[in-house]
């Protein structure tokens, strides 16, 4: 149970981080690949509260990933993390009101079925650290 809770926390952190990063960078505008453009982009991102919040969530993702793989199998945690794609599609449809294509729904259904199959296996198949 604690493995599934940690994987869920990992997925939430990754999704929230990505979403906030995209929101923050969109507000900052397109980055120009010139020295003044890069300098301006650096200061805009460093002074953006949204970007810092995104970094905090992505740090949370890294910490939860490191913590959960300290006891659970990598081959258990990694595919379960793909559940974030399903959450993203649901958020896109029901929160942002975006149109989600049938192909994307099919992909989400396959991911859910795959995660369900993986979650029915033993979370840990290797020996504990001495």
């Amino acid at each position: 149970m604690k493995t599934l809770v940690m994987v869920f926390a990992m997925v939430v952190c990754a999704n929230a981080g990505d979403l906030l990063l995209k929101y923050g960078m969109t507000r900052a505008g397109a980055v120009q690949f010139t020295l003044p453009g890069l300098e301006s982009a650096f200061w805009v991102t460093m002074t953006s509260g949204t970007i810092w919040l995104a970094i905090l969530f992505l740090l949370g993702f890294q910490v939860t990933f490191m913590t959960v793989v300290s006891w659970a199998d990598y081959s258990y945690v990694m595919p379960a993390g793909a559940f974030g794609y399903a959450i993203a599609a649901l958020l896109a449809k029901f929160v942002l009101g975006e149109r989600v294509t049938p192909l994307r729904w099919l992909g989400v259904a396959l991911i859910c079925a795959g995660v369900l199959l993986v979650s029915q296996t033993k979370p840990r198949t290797t020996e504990m650290a001495p």
């Binding site: 913590t67 300290s70 990694m78 991911i111 795959g114």
Partner: protein, 125 residues
């Protein structure tokens, strides 16, 4: 895909799986936190930061981040992102043969469904 893109894509797949496997190996060596409370987790992180495998994984993951950016500038998004779902298969094979995890038929089936699912989500976006 151009030959250069194929080479970089293979390096990306090996980098992302190798980086995460190195970190997983390191975390297994460090041992899990005694409890999921702030102090034991901070102590766990402190031990993790002094583990060599963690520092072997970090540059590999940094490399994959930049290689993905380069790949996206060379090849169409609709090709690169669905193809990157192959990292689930490569990662699972790495978990089996490098970390010695027991990957049952059920887990393999789940991984393959996730892999195809992620590719379809990317194609349908």
């Amino acid at each position: 895909m151009k030959p250069g893109s194929v080479l970089l894509f293979v390096a990306f797949l090996l980098g992302v799986s190798g980086g995460e496997i190195a970190i997983t190996h390191g975390m297994k060596a460090v041992g899990e936190p005694t409890r999921l409370r702030l102090r034991p987790v901070l102590e766990f992180l402190w031990r993790a930061l002094r583990n060599g495998w963690f520092w072997a994984g970090v540059p590999l993951l940094a490399f994959t981040f930049f290689s993905l950016l380069v790949l996206l500038s060379w090849e169409p998004f609709s090709l690169v992102i669905p193809a990157s779902a192959m990292s689930y298969v490569v990662g699972t094979a790495g978990a089996k043969y490098v970390l010695g995890e027991e990957v049952s038929v059920r887990r393999w089936a789940g991984v393959l469904l996730v892999c195809v699912g992620v590719a379809l989500v990317a194609l349908g976006s």
